[in-house]
Symmetry: D3
């Protein structure tokens, strides 16, 4: 399985918050960092993920914004 | 300084590859993971970043795709 | 503070509409134009913005679609 | 003609910079602000735009990041 | 009418599911394939679309992820 | 293999055009429609795709813009 995206991390689902149409999945990645993904509840159901599951976290490099503070 | 995005990591620039208009910045994040950002060369010059610099890596949660393998 | 994005405007918050998970922030920019941003309610709380506040409006150029009518 | 996007401004093309595959279109919007769009050169040719042309600038609200400085 | 995006299909609205702020529009495209678009309910109202309507489906090529299984 | 995205089509690679940093992959999908994806050349090499290969085409619904003409 290969993805056309530069960013691929392995995350563990730490929580799912559901809205009326969309949902927000919280993830932990190595070194105690956290990430989050927003998708439709329909997509969440297709994924079939729940707290504790491992998932691949994919982000195209163009969607990564850098800030120099 | 506060950002309206769920994903904010601290990265270190490990390399910059320039194309004719766009460029690709390689980053290391904690736990030896790597990430990448693509932007215009104009934006790279505004940022003024070079190898070794610390940057904030910002990604809106909607741009994070999860895959269950 | 420098951002790796071509589009940076200064906007003033004119309203916030909250859904169950996401929210929509209305903004005015110079010359009586208006813009809007959608984010999670969690991100809104991190930002801590309210009506009348000034914010920086950041958009990567790749997310700008041009139409010739 | 109606678009499913919250952000719609009228811009004037002030310049086009071509890379090998992508290009960057500079725009002026009211009140002397400037914006930019990145697209493929193929899309630029479909648009058929040149310096001085008026275009509609469309951005989905989810792609607008707010920062509180 | 010309769009600065590589992906333009003609779709037919097969359903609209409304959340509290966002909505999800289901579409059929040729060869019995289906697609979906998420937008704000405000944008849906601007569009004024309903089941059975024809719409143009526009996606910038940078937002298309390829996977090799 | 499950993806957290509403849009998943099967496409066939019909061509690859390389720039200096980015590349553009042309695809045919059922009913003689065509699509395109832009990614880094690094991602193209990871994918290892060539003309004639079948790929999964994944697009998050939020990145789909509808236009009513």
């Amino acid at each position: 399985m290969k993805y056309g995206a530069r960013n691929q991390l392995i995350g563990k689902v730490t929580g799912v918050k559901k809205g009326s149409l969309m949902c927000q999945v919280s993830l932990s990645i190595p070194a105690n960092s956290s990430m989050a993904s927003v998708m439709t509840i329909d997509s969440l159901e297709d994924l079939g993920i729940k707290k504790g599951d491992k998932v691949r976290v994919v982000v195209k490099a163009i969607n990564v914004l850098l800030v120099k503070e």
